[in-house]
Symmetry: C2
């Protein structure tokens, strides 16, 4: 890192945000398949330990990255210290699924989570000369979080371009969201097609040993597998 | 945090990014003075422990916040693990000051630092129902970092607006940079005028017991105090 920055042509590796859920695991499998097809190195899986109550996520993220042959970087910060979300604050109950896609943002919203995640991802990608950041957000079958929408991603790209050396040099870290316009059914099909280890994934917001089956994340997942006509391999005992 | 979010009128407290340097200390003193004038609570000082080699910053940030009567939140993450900067990587030498304001971005640039800092600040402000985030960046007498420029701040505000619940409700966390168009001389004068404890501040990029006097940060600071006709109180023994 003491010489001049590498040219864009040298930046072939990618970074994928991996939480261990269905969407990010599918996203990683798609990136792995693409890298294999172009001879690029395996993507770096970036996972955040942010004090989430569903700690099983972290084990699943490591298992998914390992299964797909990707190096993993875990970045820790304690979002529970700033509070404000049912996912990090044990004093706020995780609700059961209600109407999905409605206007209200549920209490499982973690303040500015994807803004923070993507910012750190761009920092890591710039420091390590990686080409792109992949994020598995989805704005169709989702919980209504504002930071999963395409308009947020567009604004974030511009902030990332203007706030980095890479951006000022005309080769910003690109941010891609290949699942953003897919239904959950399409995500399940894409994951199966790309060979994603969906049996290792965890979507439930609760911290139990088994998915609760009633939270918003469980409900969205179940509908996706049902619509795709695929049994959920994570529920096979 | 279980009821509906507070209305904008209830959000009177502010958050100030405080590194313990001249600029952020002046920024905090200005915010404290404004809060006292309006009867608002003292601002929350947010400090990042990101693995910087100039660890003395952290002590100075705590001292500054305490002296000004502000609560402080320290958020830790280890940017040295992603590397790429002389400020976090002991293998990269901190250079002596050269021409300032030139087109090159120096090796002391930390990849996407203010993007990460501001993202976490917005997250904390949203979680804690704080009104504004103040950042003491300056784009006149500075080291040429892209993430100190007004155009970056504008793009970041938009990303923060679109990526948060507050933004979708029409009351985004505002991001203000009161020093952005000031010279270092003007910052010194503003700090003295606002009663900032400049004797507690630390600007040097090195990790020594005393400022090195030769790095870019030391040189900018010295020129600012000299132009303002004020002795640097941090250099008085």
């Amino acid at each position: 890192m003491t010489g001049p920055p590498a040219g864009a042509a040298d930046r072939r590796g990618d970074l994928v945000l991996v939480s261990g859920g269905l969407d990010s695991t599918t996203c990683l499998a798609l990136a792995v398949r693409e890298a294999a097809g172009t001879g690029a190195p395996a993507p770096l899986a970036l996972t955040f330990d942010y004090g989430q109550r569903h700690r099983v996520e972290l084990d699943r993220a490591a298992a998914v990255a390992g299964w797909l042959g990707c190096p993993q970087l875990v970045v820790s910060f304690d979002a529970s210290r700033w509070g404000g979300s049912a996912l990090t604050d044990a004093g706020i109950r995780v609700p059961e699924a209600t109407a999905t896609g409605g206007p209200a943002i549920p209490v499982t919203y973690v303040p500015a989570r994807n803004l923070v995640f993507l910012s750190i991802a761009v920092a890591v990608a710039e420091a390590r000369e990686l080409r792109r950041v992949h994020i598995g957000v989805n704005a169709l079958d989702y919980s209504g979080y504002p930071d999963c929408r395409p308009e947020f991603l567009d604004a974030f790209r511009e902030a990332g371009r203007l706030g980095t050396r890479r951006g000022t040099e005309g080769t910003p870290v690109d941010v891609v969201a290949p699942l953003v316009a897919m239904t959950k059914e399409q995500i399940v099909r894409a994951g199966v097609d790309a060979g994603a280890p969906l049996e290792l994934t965890w979507s439930c917001y609760q911290g139990g040993d088994r998915p609760c089956g009633t939270c918003d994340a469980c409900a969205l997942r179940a509908r996706g597998f049902a619509a795709a006509g695929v049994p959920d391999p994570a529920l096979v005992t």
